[in-house]
């Protein structure tokens, strides 16, 4: 794994920051929720205590704390906002609840909904009576027709029964039965109670309006069919029921004084029925859904609310554990999901005591979205900042890593190239001036290389030194042999002398070869450069070689015009000598040695190709090293591989190079020297 990748991974660990931020945000959110709960609870409690001081403004009947019992005919009266038209339809009531089905005794299915404005009580009754029997024009008490009975308990306690019947649909008035002086019941209109009779395909609708002044705490309504079937409730003397549970007049306004915008306050009675409502839960006024970027990481941060209870929306009552707890005497708060589970509502409920008893509860609802928005803003900031920080950290780490790996790479390639093919050592390392570890590494390399260089130098000069040191004892031996010969030896001893001389002479040629490299290097240093014609030099040299090596056949191929170059002709000749000697050594008798001069770009190429054994490929690179000998020549002369080393030295002195290769046909070798023209 590269350093760059490693540091990148290290840098990525800064992603822990946003993660920690998320955790923090969650805890923050939880804490905020709790504090919001407490605050709302406290508000609810405060309102409850304020209301408890004036129970008569809250409850229509403070004394009656019996719970709502629908099956006994208790009726919830929806508060109506605005005056509905008497038209037989309840759509303009704006009550988000369906009419309640009434019990039936052989009658048709009937449904009732009751609402009230400040002055009127509105009744809406649907009866699925497929066969409507209209009231005769002059009704007789025995006449059977479809009608609706309405019994009202007046504020004083007296009960009055009205009935609605019609011969034709339309606006009608309630009628009441008056016992005439003749003892005969007669129907009389009650103009204060108006109604609209609407006939539909399923039956009829009756929408009635009763002034509140006529209405006391109880009311019964019953649909009577012409066949005698009954639906609804009839007033009974002893039985409870028929009580009207309705918003207390003025309570909404009273509540309105307690609340702040964005909060809805509801007072419920002991059954959880709404007595008064004020305010509205703050809609998330951010219709402009958070910027696209803000939403995706919300899911990382948000406390998981999907398991929280959904708020049960009911027009007449508030349910839930919070309200239940408050009605049991304990203030409570709970979070509910609403609006399809997307939004949150905080609901706080406080008991509303009247004396020792809990008669109801004050419920405050507040949107959780403000909180969310607050948190989201903070989080978006946090997120953006940490992401920016992470990006910067990654970028920084990446660039540091890039720089480091570049430096190491530079050092590595320098180390790779430090020791050349020819054994030369470059001592200066990049980066060694830097103070850090890489610099120390570079300096370490430099020390290593300089030691290596010293050793190489020692080895390189060892041959020359050895030759020099051996020369004196050799001279002693040879001069002693000379003396011995001059003194005269016996004929039978002469053989030994000759052999000793041969040995000495071989030793001497070895030593002179050993020292030759050093001498060549020295003479190269002193060489003078002149302009000369390489072609002419080659022609004259090859002519010389033809004389010198009569056994070999030379071929010469040169350009047609003069080839001037700037250099040391003596050295070039020496270079040729070595190449030719080498070629002659390996060229079989009657083999051909082809010398060729050609232009190649801004260089001259001198190549000497000879018939003979090919060079093992692994040797090609090393041929030009000092004292490297690879092949066995034809003669007995010692070969120390200095010839090709000298070729290389001379080529390099001319800023050129020497190459060795095997001939394409594999039947010989080609040595090429490339020399720049200038």
């Amino acid at each position: 794994m590269s350093i760059r990748l490693q540091l990148l991974i290290v840098a990525l660990t800064t992603l822990i920051l946003p993660w920690a931020g998320c955790q923090y945000a969650r805890e923050l959110e939880t804490a905020l929720r709790v504090s919001q709960e407490r605050a709302l609870e406290a508000s609810a409690d405060t309102i409850a205590h304020a209301l408890a001081a004036e129970p008569q403004r809250v409850f229509r009947d403070v004394a009656d704390a019996a719970p709502f019992a629908q099956n006994e005919g208790d009726i919830y009266v929806f508060p109506l906002h605005g005056q509905p038209l008497l038209d037989g339809y309840r759509e303009d009531w704006d009550v988000p609840a369906d009419p309640k089905t009434l019990p039936s005794e052989g009658g048709h299915a009937a449904r009732l909904q009751v609402g009230s404005t400040e002055r009127y009580l509105f009744l809406y009754l649907e009866v699925d009576d497929p066969h409507i029997v209209a009231e005769p024009l002059s009704p007789h008490p025995e006449d059977r027709f479809d009608r609706v009975n309405l019994t009202v308990e007046r504020p004083g306690g007296a009960r009055e029964t009205y009935f609605f019947a019609t011969g034709a649909p339309g606006l009608i008035q309630a009628q009441t039965v008056i016992k005439g002086a003749d003892g005969i019941d007669r129907a009389a209109s009650e103009p204060r109670i108006q109604a609209f009779w609407l006939q539909t395909s399923r039956g009829y609708h009756l929408e009635a309006r009763v002034p509140l002044s006529l209405v006391g705490p109880r009311l019964w309504i019953q649909a009577l069919d012409s066949t005698g079937g009954k639906s609804g409730y009839a007033p009974l003397e002893s039985a409870p029921g028929g009580r009207l549970f309705m918003a207390t007049p003025g309570l909404d306004d009273l509540l309105g004084t307690f609340i702040r915008p964005g909060t809805r306050a509801t007072v419920v009675d002991a059954s959880g029925l709404k007595l008064g409502v004020a305010g509205a839960v703050g809609e998330s006024e951010s219709g402009e859904e958070d910027e696209a970027g803000g939403t995706w990481y919300r899911r990382f941060v948000t406390v998981d609310t999907s398991a929280w209870p959904l708020q049960v929306i009911s027009a007449e009552r508030i349910n839930g554990t919070g309200v239940a707890a408050a009605l049991a005497g304990r203030p409570a708060a709970e979070w509910l999901r609403t609006g399809g589970g997307q939004e949150l509502v905080l609901l706080a409920a406080a008991p509303l005591p009247v004396g020792e008893q809990v008669h109801g509860a004050v419920v405050l609802e507040q949107g959780g979205d403000q909180l969310l928005e607050l948190r989201d803003r903070a989080l978006t900031h946090l997120f953006n900042l940490t992401l920016l920080a992470t990006a910067l950290a990654v970028l920084f780490a990446f660039s540091v890593a890039t720089v480091i790996s570049l430096r190491i790479g530079r050092l590595r390639s320098a180390a790779d190239a430090a020791v050349g093919n020819d054994g030369s050592i470059r001592l200066d390392m990049p980066e060694s001036a830097r103070a850090d570890e890489i610099g120390a590494l570079a300096r370490g390399f430099e020390r290593l290389l300089s030691r290596l260089n010293e050793h190489t130098q020692y080895l390189r000069t060892l041959g020359g030194k050895l030759a020099h040191e051996l020369r004196t004892p050799l001279t002693i031996v040879r001069s002693s042999l000379d003396n011995l010969e001059s003194e005269g030896v016996r004929a039978d001893q002469r053989g030994y002398l000759t052999r000793a001389r041969e040995g000495v002479s071989r030793l001497q040629s070895i030593l002179s070869a050993l020292g030759a490299a050093a001498r060549v290097e020295e003479s190269i240093k002193q060489a003078e450069r002149v302009n000369f014609d390489l072609r002419e030099l080659l022609r004259s040299a090859v002519a010389g070689y033809r004389d010198a090596f009569a056994a070999a056949r030379f071929e010469l191929d040169t350009p047609h015009d003069a080839c001037f170059m700037h250099g040391a002709p003596d050295l070039i000749v020496q270079l040729l000598d070595k190449l030719i000697e080498n070629a002659v050594d390996f060229c079989p008798p009657s083999g051909i040695i082809a010398v060729r001069l050609a232009r190649s770009g801004s260089n001259y190429e001198i190549s000497v190709a000879n018939d003979g054994p090919p060079i093992p490929p692994e040797m090609l690179e090393r041929l030009f090293e000092s004292l490297f000998e690879h092949r066995q020549g034809h003669d007995d002369k010692p070969h120390f591989g200095l010839g090709l080393y000298i070729v290389r030295l001379i080529a390099e002195f001319h800023d050129g190079k020497a190459l060795a290769a095997n001939r394409a046909d594999g039947d010989g070798a080609v040595f090429t020297v490339i020399l720049p023209m200038i």
């Binding site: 001279t475 000379d482 003396n483 020292g515 020295e522 010389g544 002709p569 003596d570 000749v573 020496q574």
Partner: protein, 229 residues
């Protein structure tokens, strides 16, 4: 009267071998191990010829100093450097200090003796004014083989013995190419090719000092050199 030769050489075995060989040729040989001993002796009496090694005991270039001191004592005394050091630089330095020849220790004893004899012959010839020895004339060049003297356009060209023999070999057969081996044989020295090359180079320079237009020694690449008339 026997010729008196001084050998200054710090290697006793070599010293004795040289001494024995030269003594066999009829010379009176005195040997010295270092510069100090040699100078003491020379202060008393100068030899007829001095053979000096360059490095003497702990003096790496003691031979050069000795040569300079000797030359101060006598301008004519023939001096031969005989050394294991064979670098071009050493040869140039030695000859510049006024040595008459520069031989490496590869030289065989007979060769050495021949050299010594040749030097004495040159000195004898110089001392004989009525000389009618073998003279080679090639245009501006006059070589007196007896005195081992060379003149170009009448101006003397001072050559070392090796240089003299090289010029002599070349000028005797103008136009003939002499390869390096032939030149070495003529000069009675064992040298490698490079040394021959540098000898020739130095020869040309000496002639050029006398005549800037000198162009008589031609290099025949791959073969050797020839004298152009």
């Amino acid at each position: 009267m026997k010729r008196h030769i001084a050998i200054v050489e710090d290697e006793p075995a070599l010293r004795d071998n040289y001494a024995a060989a030269l003594a066999r040729h009829g010379y009176l040989v005195k040997t010295y191990g270092n510069r100090k001993l040699a100078m003491q002796a020379f202060g008393t009496r100068l030899p007829d010829l001095a053979i000096i090694d360059i490095s003497l005991e702990d003096e790496a270039e003691g031979g050069f100093d000795l040569c300079r001191d000797l030359r101060a004592l006598s301008a004519e005394l023939p001096i031969i450097f005989l050394t294991a050091r064979d670098s071009e630089l050493d040869a140039v330095s030695g000859l510049r200090l006024g040595a008459d020849d520069f031989l490496t220790k590869d030289v065989s004893l007979p060769h050495l003796a021949a050299r010594v004899a040749a030097l004495f012959r040159r000195i004898d010839a110089l001392r004989r004014p009525d000389n009618a020895g073998e003279v080679v004339r090639r245009g501006a060049l006059v070589i007196d083989a007896e005195k081992m003297q060379t003149t170009w356009n009448g101006s003397p060209v001072v050559l070392s013995l090796t240089e003299f023999w090289i010029v002599h070999a070349l000028a005797r057969n103008p136009g003939h190419v002499k390869n390096r081996q032939q030149l070495m044989d003529a000069a009675n020295v064992v040298l490698d090719d490079n040394t021959i090359t540098s000898h020739v180079k130095r020869l040309r320079r000496k002639f050029l000092e006398v005549d800037p237009a000198f162009d008589a020694i031609q290099t025949v690449y791959g073969m050797g050199y020839r004298w152009l008339e």
